[in-house]
């Protein structure tokens, strides 16, 4: 029967190719729309996964003039006591503050580095120095490199590119804001955007001392117990961290679900339109394929009548027509999903999204490139591609079923008479 079905598809080459083309287009659109959506979700969640955080809390101010040591970019101070209040909120797994600073480094005041003060109690599990393959590892651990201790005074961790650029290694010293710091470890970070990442890390206490604004941080990273809790925490945080809106201040609460809107507003719009369009095309193609299958039944009345006269049961005829449509769906689906995946791959490799500067403020004169490029990944796209393929196959099978039902119900004498 398969041979029969294949010959029939070959016989009606133009029609078959047209239907396959329609299915290819709709499947490709669907697969690419789903995969690009997934890639964007992956890109948005990657910096948060890297920091192991769900919410980033910051005060956004007008940028102040450069000094020896200043808050990075437009960040404003948040009292450290707020962190303890946030930790006590229901649904909070953990919370830690960081103090991201722009600091003059070296004897020349035009050399500036991004220095992030981190809480030694949380540096391994939350924030820009989180230990793990998706964030950071010590490159000099075997020769004594280490993370920061609570008791450290004027010690620092340096990121590998910065260390290489400045010839720093374990035990080297460098001037930060006019004070000497000793390198206790070198961090190698995974590629991709990272929240509150610096070029150099010092203890929060040292950073606060350098800034001279007391016990403050300028970003709080919160790990929620679950997504539902995250939404509740966001509401409560607004009561804890106060901002003076009259002064143009803004409380910035960033999560992976809202980060995309700020970095890829148009892309998201296009992506959303693409999804709708894909849905519409699926519907239109489905109707066209159904129409084509039903027309095929009308055109093949004599053949169907003959088959029945030769002893084919109704379900045999139905099976043949369903098989033909299924084959069309299979071929169209395979080509379409391949094309859709390719399109998604092409789109994601040619598009760059950058983390909002507030989440990682590097000065324009930074010596190392800021880790702002969000990494598109098609991880998780496989099931979506399979889903798109199944949609294509369903279009074929369902239209085949409708045609088959019609052909199956056709009395043989009527089929022969209608010729």
């Amino acid at each position: 029967m398969l041979q029969y079905a294949l010959k029939e598809l070959t016989r009606r080459k133009s029609r078959s190719l047209l239907v396959i083309f329609g299915i290819v287009i709709c499947t490709a659109l669907l697969a690419s729309a789903l995969c690009i959506s997934q890639a964007m979700r992956n890109a948005a969640s990657q910096p948060f996964q890297s920091a192991n955080a769900d919410i980033i809390i910051q005060r956004e101010l007008a940028e102040c003039p450069f000094a020896l040591v200043k808050h990075a970019g437009k960040l404003g101070a948040i009292p450290e006591e707020s962190i303890q209040q946030i930790r006590e909120l229901p649904g909070v797994d953990m919370a830690a503050g960081v103090l991201e600073l722009w600091v003059t480094s070296g004897p020349d005041e035009t050399d500036r580095a991004v220095v992030t003060g981190v809480d030694p109690d949380y540096q391994h599990k939350l924030g820009p120095t989180k230990q793990g393959e998706d964030c950071c590892t010590l490159t000099d651990h075997e020769i004594g490199g280490r993370y920061l201790y609570v008791t450290d005074d004027h010690t620092c961790l340096v990121e590998e590119p910065y260390a290489k650029k400045h010839g720093l290694k374990l035990g080297s010293t460098l001037l930060l804001g006019g004070e000497e710091f000793t390198v206790v470890g070198t961090l190698r970070a995974a590629e991709g955007a990272r929240i509150a990442a610096g070029e150099i890390y010092v203890t929060l206490r040292d950073a606060q001392a350098m800034l001279g604004e007391g016990e403050v941080v300028n970003a709080v990273l919160v790990r929620a117990e679950n997504q539902k809790a995250a939404a509740e925490i966001e509401k409560k945080v607004r009561e804890i961290v106060k901002v003076d809106t009259d002064q143009g201040e803004r409380l910035a609460l960033t999560t992976d679900s809202n980060v995309m809107s700020s970095v890829a507003g148009v892309a998201i719009l296009a992506q959303s339109a693409n999804r709708w369009m894909a849905g519409l095309v699926v519907l239109v193609v489905f109707l066209l394929v159904v129409k084509s299958s039903l027309s095929s039944v009308s055109e093949r009345m004599r053949e169907i009548g003959t088959m029945k006269a030769l002893g084919w049961r109704d379900r045999h005829v139905a099976r043949l027509l369903a098989l033909e449509s299924g084959l069309v769906g299979l071929i169209g689906g395979l080509i379409g999903t391949g094309a859709g995946y390719g399109a998604a791959l092409g789109y994601t490799s040619s598009t760059t999204l950058r983390l909002p500067a507030l989440l990682n403020s590097y000065p324009a004169c930074a010596k190392t490139p800021p880790p702002l490029d969000m990494q598109f990944s098609l991880a998780g796209c496989g099931p979506l591609v399979v889903g798109a393929f199944l949609v294509a196959l369903s279009i074929g099978v369902l239209s085949g079923y409708l045609a088959a039902r019609r052909a199956g119900k056709l009395p043989p004498a009527e089929a022969l008479r209608r010729v």
């Binding site: 016989r11 004599r302 003959t306 030769l310 045999h316 043949l320 009395p411 022969l416 010729v419």
Partner: protein
């Protein structure tokens, strides 16, 4: 008398544009096993409808159609399909061959949906193609065959299941006189060799003259039955 086919007060009504058309109107007919009956009549007299009812392609509106001991009106759709496959061979006026299939593949068509080994089906098909003198053309497409050859292939297809009843609807209708005669000779030879019952329709008076039994239909009624 062992009647192979019996029609008892058979009426077939079609509805067309709100109008009731009586294609057959209370027809009684008995066809003996192994006989050759030709149904003649003008176009629209009900010949093809009668053949469809005998072959289980259609159901009577009223009356009973008995073939080989089966009351066709009581058979399910599947049972009717099995009946056609096992007991009836059809030959159509316009051959009804699948154009993309070779002669051999066309003859194998009745086996396609059933679990018959391909080699076995092809062996049987080649046998009947040989019987109808088309063995040499087994691998030709219908488009490469003449009308007479196509009808021979169609006859081979009708015979491949060894039916006991052959129904031929105007089998020479689309053939020239000489080719038509050859087809009739072939059917006559197969009738003798296989001893099967043949019921065919024709509007050609010469065929009726040569036929052993003739049923004449007019407006859905049997007006003459000569043997």
């Amino acid at each position: 008398m062992d009647y192979h086919v019996e029609l008892k007060r058979v009426t077939r009504v079609f509805a067309k544009n709100g109008e009731q058309i009586r294609a057959l109107d209370g027809v009684d007919l008995a066809v003996a096993r192994g006989s050759w009956t030709v149904v003649v009549g003008l176009s629209g007299s009900g010949k093809s409808t009668m053949l469809s009812l005998i072959g289980g392609l259609d159901r009577a509106t009223e009356g009973e159609v008995w073939v080989a001991g089966n009351d066709l009106g009581k058979l399910s759709s599947d049972a009717l399909a099995d009946f056609r496959r096992e007991k009836v061979g059809f030959v159509f006026q316009s051959f009804n061959l699948v154009p993309t299939f070779t002669a051999l593949e066309n003859v194998c068509l009745p086996f396609v949906p059933y679990k018959v080994a391909r080699a076995q089906a092809e062996k049987k098909a080649l046998e009947v193609l040989e019987q109808v003198g088309m063995l040499a053309r087994a691998n030709h497409l219908p488009g490469e065959l003449s009308g007479g050859e196509q009808q021979r292939v169609a006859i081979a297809r009708a015979l491949v299941n060894d039916p006991e009843l052959l129904l031929a609807d105007e089998p020479t209708g689309e053939l020239d006189t000489r080719t038509g005669e050859k087809v009739l000779e072939l059917l006559s030879k197969l009738h003798r060799e296989r001893g099967m019952t043949i019921v065919m329709t024709s509007h050609d008076p010469r065929i009726a003259e040569q036929a052993p039994a003739v049923v004449r239909l007019e407006d859905g009624r049997v007006v003459a039955h000569a043997t």
